[in-house]
């Protein structure tokens, strides 16, 4: 919408190439001239951060795969070999292990941002659903990756999670045997997890391409949740979004580096430095932090099958969010009631994460049940009803006016309270 959106080849070679394969034109229209709403805040950088983290995981992962041995007798030691004898092997492994955490952190921020600003609403439903598919793929990939070092937590996480499928009526036990490739978690399990852990990231890359394609079809949402109307409402992707995103990406890298170089085992569990031992069960089997909320939901339900169903539903329900939220107004900035329920939802999610790390006993179970109930009620009751009863604030006439009223220029009306403190 702003600037020259048609690519003009500057050299004879580029003119030649463009007539045969218009790839430079595609890059130009997608990443240079592409109009982005001018009011995007820093929460919109997390999509770029996720792409960056996917790249980091692929590069470090492929090099690690060159040194790793997927065999129950050698896996643990081959990881230690990487840590000790491979040049910068410690760096590769700590980047990869902490990179997974950073990947999930960025994904969760990205999702909460989408929920806060209503980014899943018409016409971005498919974009959102592709995101939910990406989350599912990430969960699977991360879980299988965690099994590969073949430490105690690896082994027992694999045992606990694959056993969940035994809850399926009639065929459950057969499914588990099929997953294991045997009658217990063993070498075939490790081998297939390794193969899938290598495969799934490329599936993720494919879905990311679709995700970005869908994004470029409908354009970005923005903090005010209104579509751009004039040229003044947008700025060109390059240099404006590029420089802003690069800045935050580097700040994010500072956090990443803090983990990798100074506290590389902070997010891990000491038990995973004990080689896998099928005859010794760890006192507490805890998943990685990014699965804890789902783990809490699983354990909050006393029935195993229903627990597994709830675990699956807690993720799948996200795909229906565009239709569960009935409000025509996107951004929480103009939805005073929604904003409160949203933050309560955020607290519940963090709280479920905390409960997932605690043993399922006493008061913990009770709180986990209340939080699980809220988690589902948020989607199934609160959002559908809220859209019909909530009195929303008037929307600004355009993105430009929204930007100006937040900048508080002379003569402009005071911004709504929600707008204070925005990046």
């Amino acid at each position: 919408m702003s600037g020259n959106s048609i690519y003009q080849p500057q050299s004879a070679f580029m003119r030649w190439l463009e007539r045969r394969l218009p790839i430079a034109g595609l890059v130009y229209s997608s990443f240079v001239a592409y109009p982005t709403p001018r009011n995007l805040n820093y929460w919109w950088t997390f999509g770029g951060i996720l792409t960056f983290m996917l790249g980091v995981q692929l590069v470090t992962g492929i090099v690690l795969a060159m040194h790793y041995t997927p065999h129950v007798d050698f896996a643990f030691n081959s990881v230690e070999q990487i840590m000790r004898d491979v040049n910068y092997g410690w760096l590769l492994r700590y980047l990869h292990a902490n990179g997974a955490s950073m990947f999930f952190l960025a994904a969760y921020v990205h999702m909460f941002r989408g929920m806060y600003y209503g980014s899943y609403k018409e016409p971005r439903e498919v974009l959102w659903i592709l995101g939910v598919i990406l989350l599912l793929l990430m969960i699977m990939t991360g879980f299988m990756g965690y099994v590969l070092p073949w430490g105690q937590m690896s082994f027992w996480a694999a045992t606990v999670i694959t056993n969940l499928f035994s809850a399926i009526p009639l065929v459950g036990e057969s499914v588990v045997t099929w997953l294991w490739g045997g009658y217990a978690v063993g070498n075939p399990t490790l081998n297939r997890f390794y193969a899938l852990h290598y495969l799934l990231p490329f599936v993720i890359v494919g879905v990311v391409v679709l995700h970005i394609w869908a994004l470029h079809m409908v354009g970005q949402n923005n903090p005010d949740g209104i579509e751009p109307v004039t040229e003044r409402d947008t700025v060109a992707f390059t240099p404006y979004a590029t420089i802003k995103d690069t800045f935050l990406m580097i700040v994010f890298c500072i956090l990443f580096a803090w983990f990798v170089f100074y506290i590389p085992n902070f997010l891990g569990h000491p038990d995973n430095y004990i080689p896998a031992n099928p005859s010794v069960t760890p006192t507490h089997i805890v998943p990685e932090w990014y699965y804890l909320p789902f783990y809490a939901i699983l354990r909050a339900i006393p029935n195993k099958l229903l627990g597994v169903v709830a675990l699956g539903a807690s993720i799948v329900i996200l795909a229906f969010l565009p239709w569960l939220d009935t409000s025509p107004v996107r951004s929480a900035r103009y939805r005073p009631l929604y904003r409160q329920f949203f933050w309560l939802f955020f607290i519940v999610c963090v709280g479920l994460g905390w409960l997932g790390s605690k043993p399922p006993e006493g008061a913990y179970v009770l709180i986990a049940r209340i939080f699980t109930a809220y988690y589902f009620a948020y989607f199934l009751i609160i959002l559908p009803v809220l859209g019909r009863v909530e009195k929303t604030k008037p929307l600004p006439a355009s993105i430009s006016q929204a930007v100006l009223s937040q900048g508080i220029p002379v003569g402009a009306p005071a911004p709504p309270p929600a707008a204070v403190g925005k990046a």
Binding site: I243, V251, A257, F261, P270, I274, P328, A397, L404
Partner: protein
Amino acid sequence: MSWRALLAALSVTFVVSLTPAFGQEHEAPAPPKNRWSFAGPLGKFDGAQLQRGFKVYREVCATCHGLKLVAFRNLTDPNGPAFTAAQASVIAAEYKVQDGPNDQGEMYERTGRLADYFPPPFPNDQAARARYNAVPPDLSVIAKARGYERGFPFWVLDFATQYQEHGVDYITALLQGYENKPPAGFTLPPGSFYNKYYPAHAIAMPPPLTDGRVDYTDGSPMKVEQYAKDISAFLMWTAEPHLVQRKRVGLQIFTFLIVLATLLYFTKKKVWHAVELHPEELTPRPPLEYPRR
């Protein structure tokens, strides 16, 4: 999303998780924190301490505990114990290593070389269990394979203060945590010892250290406390041999990233200055109303 709301949300979570009536997990006291030369962003191993720790390992722990991921050549690591190659060769030569098969197809024993790994104290787990009724764990990564729960507010502080020495502090405490008489009401299973820092208190390992058991030649106190610290530091090195390099590279990366972020911030400000909106350019329009579905 506003920072204020985010902060409010986080503080509510904070208060909720501080609420008592949930804690009942650990009866074992938290190990006291020690000052370690390798802690913090500028941390380095103290070569002399690692050499003393190695002496404790060799004269005390090695009877039962292996170090199978460590090679004799590692002892010459300048960021580690920093033995000379000659010293490490002498150490290696004190061990018998199984090699083979030779030309006659037979396995044979020879003296250790720098390239060899520390040989295991037992041929297999069954042999260890037959002798000690337990399998003494290999110590190569034990400093990272042990730790203790820090609980909610503390683990957040640990993130900021880079406290990563849970394992070494635990081992140091464990080695000094033996008590001759278990507290009243505690029945000690036969063949085990009472240790207040061990999770279930009944540990199969007898108290390994006594004052004066290992001769120090550098004038360091020959006390259990000193032995415990030295062996723990040594085990931190075996668990994380590239710790010094990691922290040094980290500092360089950090400096680079912070300078780059600063430059990018000001570049971003300058770039965006060019497209700032001015109110007089806009014609006011009435607010939008979405149609109700």
